[in-house]
């Protein structure tokens, strides 16, 4: 734990941002992200087992029951800005611990449900709020802890989702058979409480943003300081930032297309005529390659050979292409190959989609940016799946749905290419002469980037020795 004395020294000098340790305790925070993403998104993906039980017990239709997940996911995305704002004010640790408690509480209350409405309110609303309070702050914390190996850390953290999808389905099946759905929900609530421990692990790297900013400025009166706190907490200044707005539009398009194969691939395989086992094999293979893609893309992006927005464009372009190729694969081996490509690219783009945010908006506003982005991109998710379902109902096959999904991704790729500083070989200049001492103590490095960025080369692919990533904070 060599970084700790260094950290306390830096805290006493009170710069606004702490240099990322890039290791040490950071890996523990990555582990926290691993378990949190497993217990949030892995859990959501495996809830299908319960839906069968709910349909039988409450006598409702499958669509009415599927609203539970929709409400939960919607809460998680819509409340992200609030989670980010709360973290800006109180720090990430208490927020994530509260989120862990709420998500467990929702499931515990759900075990006592006597109607579907109760399930909407408990499993959907309360747990959804909990998930929102967990996910965005944890992601932001990982990004604060890592600068050079940010993408790799994110990729490793997100592998939790893929691995838990494998483990949770049989586990949930066993719980339902042993304890019926009520007992199973109770046990799952307990499991979700583990996210409180995940939150406890996130040691703060410095004081929360809003606390710092209000300390530095003089308080005129209580009202204006409260408003300024809210403004700072939500990072509403981002709404006038061109890069942020561009990226949020791109992410919305990505979201519209990204989830469609998860929903439709199995049905499409059946539709073409493959057996259940073949379809299940396709999904499993896609899942495994997804995990590999996350780690590989994270590791490769940290090597620094290409700029992150360029890599993101590569992966999303390939993803869109593979989505459009899925309907063309009529032979089983062809479908497997295309699904492999789809899985790898889908996994590869995930850590980059988050890790590129600090490069666009800067480290200080990263937390608020993540919250707002989740909110804006949820629109894509809410529109994408019903649209593809509607297309399928109208045309009879999934071909048009997949092509639409692929074109959403390609559209997002094109929008990403209009990001400021995209076509330059160097990244955006750091916001001002460095207020913080990065690990190399590079005041010279900061000036160097400013002189270099003025002569931007119009190549999309850049030479190997790019600026060191430590300056991109």
């Amino acid at each position: 734990m060599m970084e700790k004395p260094k950290k306390t020294q830096e805290e006493e000098q009170s710069p606004p941002q702490i240099a990322a340790p890039d290791g040490g305790w950071g890996w523990v925070v990555v582990g926290s992200l691993f378990f949190s993403s497993a217990l949030v998104f892995g859990l959501i993906r495996s809830l299908g087992v319960f839906f069968v039980e709910f349909v039988q017990y409450f006598g409702e239709s499958a669509q009415a029951v599927s609203w539970i997940t929709s409400i939960g996911l919607a809460m998680q995305q819509l409340l992200s800005p609030i989670a980010a704002a709360a973290s800006n004010v109180f720090g990430t640790r208490p927020v994530v611990m509260l989120g862990g408690f709420l998500s467990g509480l929702g499931f515990i209350l759900a075990s006592q449900a006597t109607s579907l409405l109760h399930l909407y309110l408990t499993m959907g609303l309360i747990s959804g709020i909990g998930w929102a309070l967990i996910f965005t702050p944890t992601v932001a914390s990982v990004m604060q802890y890592f600068a050079v190996r940010r993408s790799l850390a994110m990729g490793l953290g997100f592998t939790g989702i893929g691995l838990s999808s494998f483990a949770f389905s049989p586990l949930f099946q066993y719980l339902v058979e042993a304890y019926a759905w009520r007992g199973a929900l109770l046990v799952l609530g307990g499991l979700s409480f583990n996210m409180i421990a995940c939150g406890a692990v996130i040691r703060p790297l410095g004081k929360p943003n809003v606390v710092l900013k209000t300390e530095n400025s003089s308080k005129l009166n209580k009202c204006s300081s409260l408003l300024s706190r809210i403004y700072e907490g939500f990072e509403l200044s981002l709404l006038s930032h061109r890069g942020f707005l561009t990226y949020s539009i791109a992410l919305t398009f990505f979201n519209a297309g990204y989830f469609i194969p998860y929903v439709h691939l199995v049905a499409h395989s059946h539709h073409i005529g493959f057996t259940e086992y073949q379809a299940a094999a396709v999904i499993s293979v896609t899942g495994v390659v997804d995990i590999l893609g996350r780690v590989a893309s994270g590791w490769f992006s940290d090597l620094g050979k290409m700029r992150m927005p360029h890599m993101l464009v590569v992966w999303t372009g390939l993803l869109g292409l593979s989505l459009m190729l899925i309907p063309a694969a009529v032979v089983y081996s062809g479908l497997i190959v295309v699904s492999l490509m789809y899985g790898f690219c889908a996994g590869a783009m995930t850590p980059l989609a988050f890790a590129v945010v600090p490069e666009i908006v800067g480290m200080e506003r990263m937390l608020g940016a993540l919250g707002l982005l989740q909110l804006i991109e949820s629109v894509g998710g809410l529109l994408g799946a019903p649209l593809s379902g509607w297309l399928k109902d109208h045309t009879g096959t999934y071909t048009v749905s997949f092509i639409a999904a692929g074109s959403f991704l390609v559209l997002g790729t094109l929008v990403t290419m209009t990001l400021p500083y995209f076509w330059s070989c160097m990244g955006p200049p750091p916001p001002s002469p460095p207020k913080r001492k990065s690990q190399d103590g590079s005041i010279e490095g900061g000036l160097l980037t400013q002189t270099l960025s003025s002569n931007s080369a119009p190549d999309t692919l850049c030479p190997l020795n790019d600026i060191p990533y430590s300056d991109k904070e």
Partner: protein, 208 residues
């Protein structure tokens, strides 16, 4: 759906021998058909249905053909006991709908656990299938739940304690740490020239 293979073979062989009498043959084939079609328990998983005391449960049977009537039995060791709805209207409800039947048991208690048999009565012979019901008390899932909650509490406490212990003395104002561990570290890191006076003052502060 598991069809009893033995009955099928038996039926086919018997049918071959009875070719002489067509009427007999037809009756025999109907009988075989009724035997082969065992009623299907909806979503049967070869595992017992689990429910809780004071909760209700629905057991359902489905068949390809519509029988004359449906009967439900509860198996007590070797004998079957007919479930009489009129005698027990508060506890049992039977809803028959053509080729389906639903038995609803309300106000479950642990005695309701056991094997339930749904019987489709045909002219020739009734067709039966069974399902097992297990009624648990609420303490069953509570055990793993409490175990997990205890584990979480222990984990969180350990994490927070470890952090307080491994932090070097932050500043003397953060004396809210009343751990033995931090007391030791502050003792070690303060210079030894401070006398017992300082130690007692610290101990008094920590006792707050």
């Amino acid at each position: 759906m598991p069809r009893p293979r033995r009955a099928q073979h038996c039926c086919r062989e018997t049918a071959l021998f009875s070719m002489a009498n067509v009427r007999h043959l037809i009756l025999l084939l109907l009988y075989c058909d009724g035997m082969n079609t065992v009623p299907v328990i909806k979503d049967k998983r070869d595992k017992p249905v689990v429910s809780y005391t004071r909760d209700s449960v629905v057991l359902e049977c489905k068949l390809k053909y519509t029988p004359n009537t449906w009967n439900w039995y509860k198996a007590n060791n070797t004998e079957k006991e007919l479930i009489n709805v009129t005698a027990n209207p508060l506890n049992y409800k039977i809803f028959n709908n053509g080729n389906r039947t639903k038995l609803t048991i309300l106000n479950l208690s642990e005695e309701h656990s056991g094997k339930y048999i749904c019987s489709a009565v045909f002219d020739i012979k009734p067709s039966e299938s069974y399902i097992e019901l297990k009624v648990l008390s609420y303490t069953e899932p509570l055990k793993p739940f409490i175990a997990i909650v205890v584990e979480v509490i222990v984990l969180v406490t350990l994490i927070l304690l470890w952090e307080k212990c491994s932090k070097p003395q932050h500043d003397s104002s953060s004396a809210g740490e009343n751990d033995v561990c931090s007391e030791q570290t502050t003792k070690l890191t303060r210079d030894e020239s401070n006398g017992v006076e300082n130690n007692t003052a610290r101990r008094r502060k920590l006792d707050d």
